[in-house]
Each structure stands twice: as structure tokens, then as C-alpha cells.
Symmetry: C2
Subunit: 385 residues, 2 copies
């Protein structure tokens, strides 16, 4: 397999983008990535999108967006794995370049979620869970993650304040990200007093509903060395793993097995361990998710994830900064685009171009993108070649 | 890139399968393919599905089906390109094996379309067209293909009877396929007198709404030689191309450019021309579609597709049999599964195991799977290694 680099990145400001169509949102990000890469063509493109059908009444986005970009008849492929759709689109693009099938490949993500009402958005998102065994009982995602939080609190003594500290940290980081949907800082008290969604999770524990897109351009490292003026950002590892889709089928409700499995494979491929990482971008769809994910990544001991944000371990300036971008919590969570935005942040950090939110001496970064309550996880590791 | 073979195939009888869930339908096909391959594990799986969200309220099928198969935590990826979802899932599986990332990969397709009413199914299918520029005007697929048919009839003199002859041929072929949804034979008169859907297309010009799944197992040719007792069926070419999603943006309404583009690439990769093919499985979602597709594949001259079925050129026993399986028309069209079922038929024919519908001296077969009105086309060519 050929070595692969990320040579261009693009993303627009995320939010409630009612005045723009999905075509426009996506094309802004894609053109920025192509311009940033310094190329005048791409050979193929992938787009991660969770539910074009339910959110926009539009499937077939691979062909539609290839045309919109003015690049038809290039191959355009949509990949879906719920909220991990972006990460998985990146992985398919990586395989396409690594295989030798294509040289310049655009990996992108898109979701336009705010053109439907809140109930319809909650229903669309629930299709990432098990429709026949979970959704038919009336359970949606805040409820599923609330149950995971309750188990974690009961077993490990994780506190309500520790959940809040994840939101405080990520909003602080997001306040330094000009593209974030909710860049305001919040206090732990504000989080703990915000509207209850599914006990113990409150509205400020939850990532928002967002319109947004992100895109990156991949190329073989050999070609990247000819094109790219700055540092070559290399894909050091790519891994994907699944778990039971329904929560009740898991051995342990307080452990994200798919993340642990994918992390082990990714660390092996990159020849590193979690202690070698400079930073991580992880899937904090709810505050409890970040706590459980950093345990599965081996950034802290099992059951100790609650202490991480509280102690400053995962803050900018801490031992292992997590979600310097603001994460899904502050940056926003257009589900299909999130995994690509994580890759974008990794590239920004490794280029040393993150401004106020720059991780010092960023050499090795990991992105973890997750679908459902962890039924799928996609992990990538990036370094400077 | 490594050479890739198809070593196992599986498919159940298609139809209105109200008594079975999508899990069961898919798993039957997948287990049959794995058993047929003679392996006891797979390393990764892909599933093509057009609109799990609109048809079943269930996205995230990669993870769900990997679990259902009892193969989690293997990577499970859903790929979508409207009615070309199955063909595109096969292509991603092919790239995963060719790249060296995985050895034994299951490529599958699934759609459960009959659990919603006819209006909801027509809406779900319309999301393969341009929602903002076509569907908002009230146009759905029979109308789009009817316009293409009108142009073809006007310009080339294609007749109403020639359209009907495509249905007659494919139902005759399908009558020899025990897995077909509608294996009854029809006459040209029956087609021409059937209920009008969108002038000039009548109900017997249209492929049906279907529940169904299909699956195949891919492996590197080198590994296949150790596992497989019978002939090695090799993937000689894989190509994917796009075109404008909206019909009104095409240069020529009576020409499927994405198929012509993908065919040129596939013929080049395989080092053959259309005259070398023993048979084709093509995307006859409407009778006019087969007529236009065989022109774009170069099986006959441009504008002469209408003569093909009428003259017997594309019948079993003719110069180039098209849709020996019965095609979408008779076999059924569970949209995400269709592209995989085409591959299955190619393997059955190349193994010489097609019984009454066997193409004589089948050495080289092509599958053409299409999304929308041809906004995307995926083509594969298979031979005996």
C-alpha cells in the first residue's frame, strides 16, 4: 500500500445556515480544500453523509456533488456510518489512494440538519440506533447516552460536575475557533443548571444540531512532496471497528469496545502508543462520550475519564489536549461532516497553524469518530512525514 | 494493486417479503455467500443500500449487519449511490482487497422497499433525482425516463413495440431464474396494453418495488487459488463515472454519458472491447433504460438500441445476451441489492451453473449498474482467471 498524505483542507463556519443550500455549503468547503492543496483537479471524491434522505430528501450525493464541483464525470461516492460517516469517507478515500486506484482524492462530509423541525431531526438521528429494538421503545440518543452516564457514575463515582467540566473545557477551546457554531464560554454551574434533557444529561452536555461541511484532499506522499510547500502531513494509521448496535447487547454499558478495538489496530499500524500522542480530536457528542472515549483510547485508566477534564489533563496546556477545536460540543455536529472536520483540525495543528488554540510541539495527532452509541468507530493517526 | 476474485455468492428469492425483517433477508444472502466461498470468516464487509432511512427508518447498516452476521468487530461500511449502491459497494470492496487492506471481504446489497406504501416508496426513490430542481416540480422516475424515451423515439424512430420487446425478453429470461420476483412470461401486446404510468411507459415497462438482498465474497486471486475448487472468477475491470444529476443539464437526453465514460475505462483496464463480451447484465429499471445502456456500452450503434431486443441480438442464444437473469424487470429491483445480484449472475454464468438460462461459452461478462437517470454508473468486467 502506498503512503498517503493530506495536502489540503477546507471548512466553513458552522451553524444554522438557512440561507444556504447543501450544495453551497459543501462546495465552499471543497473548493477551499482544493485551493489549499494547490491542485487544479481531483481524480475522485468521497462524501460522508448520515441521512440525506431524512434531512434533505436528497440521496445520491456522490454524483450530485461531483457535478456541483464542476468535476464530473469523476467517481463520487457517498459513505454512511451514522455520525462516523465523515471518518469512514476519509478511510475509503485513504484506501483509494493507498491502493493506487486514484492519486488526488477529495474526502468530504456534509449534513444539513436544521431545515427540518427538532422532532424530525431527533427521529433522523435515531436511525443510527437499532430501530427495531431501541427506537420502537421510544428511546433516542440523549436517553441512550444518559443510561451510559448513569452506569459510569454508579460504578466509577463519576460526578455531575465532571461531566460539566468536559463542556467547560470544550467551549473554552471552541472560543478560540473562528469556525465554531457555539464559541461562547460556559461555566460548570451554567452546564449543571441548564435545561434537563435526559437525566443526568442537560442541554449543555449535548452537542448541537448543525448545518456544515468540511473537506480535505489526499495524495500519495510521493506526489505530496512535489506539490506541497509546507510540512507533509502523513496518514500514519487508519482503523475501523464495529460493536453491537443496540446498547442492551453490550457486555459493558460503560465501555466503548469499538473504540478500544480500533485504537489497538491504529496504534499497532502507527507503531506508537497513546503516550506518544500530542493531541486528540474525539467524538464528544455528549460530555459522557468524551469521558468514555478517552478511557478506550488509553489516555487515562478505565473509570478515570471523569477526572481528566476536571484535573486539566485534557485541556490545552495539559498532558494530552483533547478537542482543541472545541469538539462537537462547541464547534457543532453536522453529523456527516464531523469526522472530516476532526481530520482538518489535526492537519491545522500539525501545520502549527491553529493560532490561540495551538497545541505546543504538535507532532502526532489522533482523530476518533463514532457512530451511534459506539456501534462503529473510525480512528486515524497523523504525523509529519 | 492485487488481482481480485469473487469466490462466493448468495441471494434469496426476491419479492414482497413482509414476513421477514431486513436483518433476516440480508443474513440469508450473506451466510450463503460465505458458505459458498468455503471460508469461516470475513475480514470486512460493505453493504450497498439506497435509503435505509426512508424505507426502514434504519441507517448505520454497516455496523448493524456486521453484528447480525456475528462477525463484529469487523469493519462494516455502507455505500450509497441511489440504484447503483450495490455496484458501488462492490467497487469499494474490490479496492479494499486490491489495496492489501483486507483479504476476505463481503460485498452485499440490501433494500426493503415494501414496508412503506407506494407513495412513500416513490418519494424515497425520487431522492435519487435532483430534489431542488426536479422533484420540486413533481417529477418522479417514471416521468424522467418517459421523457428520455420520447426523445429516443422522436430522434431514432424507436417504436412502442421495441420498448415492449425488452420486457418480453427479460421476462422470458426471468422465467428460467428461480429467484426472480416476477418470473411470468409476457407478450408484447400485454406490455403495450398494460396500465399507463408515464406516457409512453406502461406498468410492464417498469421494474418493480422489491425486498431483497444479495452478497458475494471477494479475495485476492492468489488466495482464491488456494481456497476455490472450481474456476477462479476474476475482476478484470472496475470503473465508476458520474454525470449531471438533473436530466435538464445533459447535453443529450437520449444518451447515458456516465455509462459510456465508465465503459471506456473498464474496456481499457480489461484490455478488451464490447465485441469480446459473452454476456452483459445491465440496469433495465425501465425498458428504455436497457435500450440506451446497450448503446452506451457499444453493443450496438447509437440510436439502434431499439432494434436489439426485437431482432434477438440481446436474447439468450443471440450474439450478446443481455440480462439472462431476467434483469431488474423480471428478477426485481431492491435498489441497493441490484448491483450485487448482477455480479452474482456474472459469476453463475462464468461458472457454467446457470441451468436453463446458461449463456453458451461464457468467458467474459460485464455488469452495468446505474443510479438515477444515469447520474452515476458502475461497471465491472469478469473473466475466468
Amino acid at each position: 500500500m502506498r503512503e498517503v498524505a493530506v495536502i489540503g483542507i477546507g471548512m466553513n463556519r458552522w451553524g444554522e445556515l438557512w440561507e444556504k443550500s447543501h450544495r453551497q455549503i459543501w462546495t465552499e468547503a471543497a473548493l477551499e480544500a482544493i485551493k489549499d492543496a494547490g491542485v487544479d483537479r481531483i481524480d475522485a471524491m468521497y462524501v460522508g453523509c448520515m441521512s440525506g434522505g431524512l434531512f434533505m430528501g436528497q440521496e445520491h450525493l456522490g454524483a450530485l456533488l461531483a457535478e456541483q464541483l464542476g468535476m464530473g464525470p469523476i467517481p463520487g461516492t457517498r459513505v454512511e456510518s451514522a455520525c462516523a460517516s465523515g471518518g469512514l469517507a476519509f478511510r475509503q478515500a485513504y484506501l483509494a489512494v493507498a491502493s493506487g486506484a486514484h492519486d488526488l482524492v477529495l474526502a468530504s462530509g456534509l449534513e444539513k440538519m436544521t431545515d427540518v423541525d427538532g422532532g424530525a431531526a431527533t427521529y433522523a438521528l435515531s436511525t443510527a440506533a437499532d430501530q427495531e429494538y431501541e427506537c420502537y421503545q421510544g428511546i433516542t440518543f440523549p436517553g441512550l447516552y444518559a443510561m451510559m452516564a448513569r452506569v459510569h457514575m454508579h460504578r466509577y463515582g463519576t460526578t455531575r460536575r465532571q461531566l460539566a467540566e468536559v463542556a467547560v473545557k470544550n467551549h473554552l477551546h471552541g472560543s478560540m475557533n473562528p469556525l465554531a457554531q457555539f464559541p461562547m464560554k460556559v461555566t460548570a454551574e451554567q452546564v449543571m443548571e441548564s435545561v434537563l434533557v435526559a437525566d443526568p444529561l442537560r442541554i449543555l452536555d449535548c452537542s448541537p444540531i448543525t448545518d456544515g461541511a468540511a473537506a480535505v484532499v489526499l495524495a500519495p506522499v510521493e506526489l505530496a512532496r512535489k506539490i506541497t510547500k509546507g510540512p507533509i502531513i502523513r496518514v500514519a494509521a487508519s482503523a475501523h471497528a464495529t460493536d453491537t448496535i443496540a446498547l442492551h447487547d453490550r457486555e459493558d454499558l460503560a465501555w466503548i469496545a469499538s473504540t478500544a478495538t480500533a485504537a489497538a489496530a491504529a496504534y499497532k499500524q502507527a507503531g506508537i502508543g497513546p503516550q506518544d500522542l500530542s493531541f486528540c480530536e474525539v467524538h464528544d457528542c455528549f460530555t459522557i462520550a468524551e469521558i468514555m472515549v478517552i478511557e478506550a483510547l488509553g489516555l487515562c485508566d478505565r473509570g478515570k475519564g471523569g477526572l481528566a477534564a476536571e484535573s486539566g489533563l485534557t485541556a490545552l496546556g495539559g498532558k494530552i489536549p483533547v478537542n482543541a477545536s472545541g469538539g462537537l460540543k462547541s464547534k457543532g455536529h453536522p453529523v456527516g461532516a464531523t469526522g472530516i472536520a476532526q481530520v482538518r483540525e489535526a492537519v491545522v495543528q500539525l501545520r502549527g497553524a491553529a493560532g490561540d488554540r495551538q497545541v505546543k510541539n504538535a507532532r502526532l495527532g489522533l482523530t476518533q469518530n463514532m457512530g451511534g452509541t459506539g456501534a462503529s468507530t473510525v480512528i486515524h493517526i497523523f504525523d509529519r512525514a
